[in-house]
Symmetry: C2
Subunit: 188 residues, 2 copies
DNA sequence: ATTTTATGAACGAACGTTCAATCAATATAT
DNA sequence: ATATATTGATTGAACGTTCGTTCATAAAAT
């Protein structure tokens, strides 16, 4: 039995999902409120009962995606307790990419035009910086001579892999990840 | 003394430059023809004497940028004849990034929403694939065991470095590039 | 005099947003 | 239990704005 609040939350979720789908496909500016409403099977006007405006829907998508990623990060991290630090990080990032593909696509397509989203990007950049620092710490523990530069480089590699995977679903990200991990094991 | 054809070409160039500047800053959809006309100091209607429409301006920007990059690629390549293959490639790409920053920003911001630009991206992707193959060949010559996978990885790294540099002008791309080159020298 | 260059008002379409209206559901009164 | 009142959910036409594009008109050049 669905209460009113539950139905409301359900519709909210539907709009967030549909918005994410269309924004990540065609871009934020090129996607109209009307298109989202039609795709979600909700009337144009009703959208404004859930979100004050288009930007607020985007904001909600960002927040939802961010907490989703945070949760998945913890969860995947726990499932890889046995693995060494760097391998765990790499595998974790690959998992996140696969699981939240649309969200990452949206992120990557919006991060260049910061006019729209400086405020929204802020907390995500923070989170990314945190992960990068964790990687740096791991590299230092393992005994790298230039952990900071190595972390910068590894971060670039991971970001590049992500871009290529987001651009092309058939990109062999698992193979590349395995190869990368193997290189770090050898270097150690 | 400027001939008519020269003045025309000059105005065309101005519009291409201004378009590139604004598109790369605020995005294609979010930039209006009016904004470009005002910034370039050319009247709204006159733009249609140079380009049939907004999309055609973007197309011209792409073509211009592509041949620019091709020319710069050759030129920089020649200025680095003494360097070993991989180092030359890496330095070359860094040079291209610095010299054509706005164009790369536009490229990176548009490549996710392929609806607009599948046709325009095609030839550029081709060019990128060519560079990647050249890197692969170099790696094979140098004697890498998995040249294909290594090339895939190196390409991801370079792309990631590019993204980070495009997002943040203060990104120490020269340092990272030097560090990357150093790693390849050691591995050899 | 004729052609080319240049202008910005005007046009239709599409956008984000608002709002009067209808519909459904629940509460209240009889 | 039925009828009535009240509240909230839902709709899409309508509004004002901005967009890409066109066009009558004027200025400049030939």
């Amino acid at each position: 039995m669905a209460s009113i609040a539950e139905k409301r939350e359900q519709s909210r979720q539907l709009l967030i999902e549909t918005g994410l789908k269309l924004f990540s496909q065609k871009g934020f500016e090129a996607t109209s409120i009307r298109a989202i409403a039609k795709e979600a099977g909700i009337s144009l006007g009703l959208m404004y009962n859930y979100f004050p405006g288009k930007t607020d829907l985007l904001r909600a998508i960002f927040q939802e995606g961010q907490s989703d990623i945070e949760a998945t990060f913890e969860q995947v991290q726990e499932s890889m307790v046995g693995l060494p630090g760097i391998e765990r990080h790499i595998r974790n990032i690959v998992s996140l990419l696969k699981e939240k593909r649309e969200f990452w696509r949206l992120l990557h397509s919006l991060r260049m035009q910061s006019e729209i989203v400086t405020e929204m990007m802020g907390s995500i950049e923070q989170q990314v910086a945190y992960i990068q620092q964790m990687i740096g710490n791991n590299l230092k523990e393992v005994g790298y001579q230039n952990p900071a530069e190595e972390a910068l480089l590894l971060f670039a590699t991971l970001d590049g892999m992500a871009s290529h995977y987001l651009l092309d679903p058939s990109y062999p990200i698992d193979d590349v990840a395995s190869y990368l991990i193997q290189k770090y094991k050898k270097a150690q």
